[in-house]
């Protein structure tokens, strides 16, 4: 019995590592823009971007995925977040260019963080496929 599933993924760099999200959850890679901030106390949500008249919250997952490195945030990956009422776009700051790849999603093995949904075994690296909701949840912090 095989537990691997094939699919398309978007690879994005954060510091020295790359992570992946299912391509179905990503809509675009955006250039850096002005972050509009206002007082709030939701961890990792650092402000909002205005894109084509839409207000998009900035979810800085680097605080969990690469906190020690303090990586640069060059672009925004616009991803879909799932909520009870409706889905919502979120801007995820990433350190560089992203890449679309097709690969088998292998089940997580060993001691991996709770937000790791699976692994991609690529030519030169093993990439963690993350569950955005788990990263953003309090448990992951």
């Amino acid at each position: 019995m095989s537990t691997a599933r094939s699919g398309s993924f978007v690879l994005f760099p954060l510091g020295r590592k790359r992570f992946a999200l299912p391509a179905s959850e990503v809509s675009e890679l955006a250039r850096p823009g002005v972050i509009h901030t206002f007082p709030s106390n939701t961890l990792m949500v650092t402000g909002v971007l205005l894109r084509r008249g839409e207000v998009i919250p900035v979810c800085d997952v680097a605080q969990v995925l690469a906190a020690k490195e303090e990586p640069s945030r060059k672009f925004y990956l616009i991803a879909k977040r799932r909520f009870e009422k409706k889905d919502e776009s979120a801007a995820i700051p990433v350190s560089g260019d992203c890449e679309l790849t097709s690969s088998e999603l292998l089940p997580p093995t060993g001691k991996l963080a709770a937000y790791v949904n699976g692994l991609l075994s690529l030519e030169k690296e093993i990439v963690e496929v993350i569950d955005l909701e788990k990263v953003m949840s309090e448990e992951a912090q």
């Binding site: 509009h36 901030t37 206002f38 007082p39 709030s40 106390n41 939701t42 961890l43 949500v45 909002v48 205005l50 008249g53 207000v55 998009i56 919250p57 979810c59 977040r81 909520f83 009422k85 919502e88 979120a90 953003m136």
Partner: protein, 173 residues
Amino acid sequence: MRLQRQNRRKSHGPKTQPVILFVVGDHTFAISASAVTEIQSTQEMKPIASQMFRYGKVHHTITRDGRRYWVVDANIHFAMMPTHSSRLLMLAESPVAVKVDAIVRMAEIGTLVPLPQSFKGDERNWYVGLTLLEGGVVPVVNPASFLSRFDMEALEKTSPVYEVSAAAVGVTA
């Protein structure tokens, strides 16, 4: 029937509402103009003797027309660093005055954008939504968030009525 209803809706045109823009620290906020009865300076504020209030965001009162208002420090309410406050927004629906740095101006705002669901903290109570103004995003504050009824009752218990000035009581008598 349904068509008629749609047409009626269309004829109303875009809805706008007047707001007061104010600043606290580096941030600009908006509050519905109908939620504010007047704007005062901070000079007539009186310190509260008892500081039992759990959040410590009320340090002063101000009396207007014999009515005592609890002065909420906007810096503390929004968990911001202290700044120099010079104005009080006297709220219409509750005996609350909000201490802010300055009033910017009045403005007309259009659609109120709901706060994105990614925001899950106290800001869900602080704001009724966001508005887009001159290329920026301005949160529109929820006047009811500054002090709850429970908070006001707690303040009433810890701050006796004699703090209202005799002169002000004389006006209403």
